[in-house]
Amino acid sequence: MATMTIGTKTLALDADGNLANMNDWSEDVARELAVQEGITELTPQHWAVINFMRQVFAKEGDSPSIRRLTKESGIDTKTLYQLFPKGPAKKAAKIAGLPKPKGCI
């Protein structure tokens, strides 16, 4: 199983490269995961999305889609793509310490 190292801690990753254990997540881990995804600084807008993702996951067991992020987080789709280039839902879920969103297959 793949792992990532942060400070002295080694954290397990799943097949998609997301945290295998959600409880390993912290804001420092988020910052490290963000760097790996090419996001050097997490702004308040980034955190708003990350926290929204974590709230939805805690309540519903899956991360929200981009469409729902746009509808409920108050941040429009274009901005979401600027904050989390390529795939906001996938990328924000990874940085938020959540598994890759299911809503696909």
Partner: protein
């Protein structure tokens, strides 16, 4: 008299009407099915229409013919569901009361959800194959097309039949090769996914298939708008893909009555318990097939597997027992790979599609995640199975719960 009301007479609704009609006492129960149209289409066949393999008129039957005689059929649109009053209001304002409600209203494409997708070029240089008209128009167009760049774009996930985009491209490769013009056609998949498919093993195997057939992939493409004048797709992060012909799989959404009832998510899919298929937050309401928000494929095979679970659970529920049957997300899909061959994948919520043999380990006859001629014939044979066994709620030799037998991990 108690009322069992089924909204939608497609694959899921028809199977349930047949199963329940055989099990419930006709003296005690009135089963009613509501659907907007008289015609039942074999949707898995739409894929073949653009390539002249099937004609649309071969894929349609009268809806009532597949519903049992004791079932009341109402052809009408649905205005809204009122779970508090346990009633459904139809488009003509008639109100139907229910004791139990099964929502099987399906999913449809919504090209109007994407800026610039549905304009005067829709049906000329931009097509879909998820509707009877769309598939017919594309068949007409391809007959005389001289070649160029054909882009297959998936606007947004989830979509009905998530393997259909790949099958379309495999069949296109086969079609243009047979017509001696493959060298004049560029085929490209533009997808919001990170690869050919969603799960790691099948994404790799299917990705290799695309590569071998000379079909390129543009992954992670979140479609923002379509520019019909310049014939290009533009992503949210301002990347562009040019096309000569666009075959679009537009945003898929649940029925508008779900939105009017205020019981759906952002795509009008109904939040559903992934195991029992009870609607979340509603009394005596079940959801089946494409109408659910479940992380399982939106496909006929899934509706079929769900129907066996739901049938048991409804009978338990009527008897006042907690629902015991559990849906595991089982899906089973034949994938056309062109040149009269096909693949088969079999998976559930937690087990991704794996290579092997199906249903008998070491024997098959079908190969899992590998190409064979018999898989293709399995797919063609399925049309007969659909009309004659599946819709009628007959037992098929495949369990609703996924089996690991024959799969290689």
């Amino acid at each position: 008299m108690r009322n069992m009301l089924i909204l939608g007479g497609g694959t899921a609704g028809t199977i349930m009407a047949n199963k329940l009609s055989a099990a419930l006492d006709a003296q005690e129960w009135q089963i009613t099915v509501v659907d907007a149209t008289e015609r039942h289409y074999y949707q898995p066949g739409f894929l073949f229409v653009p390539f002249g393999i099937y004609r649309m008129r071969e894929l349609v039957k009268p809806r009532r013919q597949y519903l049992p005689s004791g079932v009341k059929v109402i052809i009408s649109g649905i205005d809204h569901i009122d779970p508090a009053k346990k009633s459904v209001t139809l488009a003509n304002h008639a109100v139907l009361k229910y004791d139990y409600l099964i929502i099987a209203t399906g999913a449809d494409i919504h090209p109007e959800q994407t800026e610039g997708l549905m304009d005067e070029e829709w049906g000329r240089s931009k097509f879909d194959f998820y509707t009877p008209n769309g598939a017919d128009r594309l068949a007409q167009f391809l007959k005389t097309w001289q070649g160029g760049k054909l882009v297959l774009n998936v606007a947004e996930m989830p979509i009905k039949c998530p393997v259909a985009p790949l099958e379309f491209l495999f069949l296109a490769d086969s079609y243009f090769t047979k017509r001696g013009m493959r060298d004049k056609v560029e085929l490209q998949l533009v997808t919001p996914l990170s690869g050919a498919f969603t799960k790691p093993t099948s994404s790799r195997v299917l990705g290799e298939f695309l590569e071998r057939k000379g079909i390129s992939v543009v992954p992670d493409f979140g479609l923002a708008r379509v520019d019909s004048q310049e014939k290009k797709l533009v992503s949210w992060d301002e990347n562009e893909v040019k096309y000569d012909v666009l075959v679009s799989i537009p945003t898929n959404m649940g029925d508008a009555c779900i939105e009017r009832s205020g019981i759906g998510n952002e795509l009008n899919f109904v939040p559903t318990d992934k195991s029992t298929l009870l609607a979340e937050g509603m009394q005596d309401v079940f959801v089946l097939g494409d109408a659910t928000n479940l992380p399982s494929s939106k496909a006929g095979s899934v509706a079929h597997f769900q129907s066996e679970v739901l049938f048991q659970n409804i009978l338990e529920h009527i008897d006042g027992r907690p629902p015991m049957a559990h849906f595991d997300g089982h899906a089973n899909c034949f994938i056309e790979s062109g040149f009269d061959k096909g693949l088969l994948i079999d998976f559930n919520y937690t087990t991704e599609p794996l290579p092997g043999e199906f249903p008998l380990p070491g024997i098959g006859p079908f190969t899992l995640l590998g190409e064979s001629r018999i898989n293709h014939y399995g797919k063609l044979m399925f049309r007969w199975v659909y009309w004659n066994l599946l819709l009628r709620g007959m037992e098929l030799p495949i369990e609703s719960e996924m089996s690991m037998a024959g799969k290689r991990v």
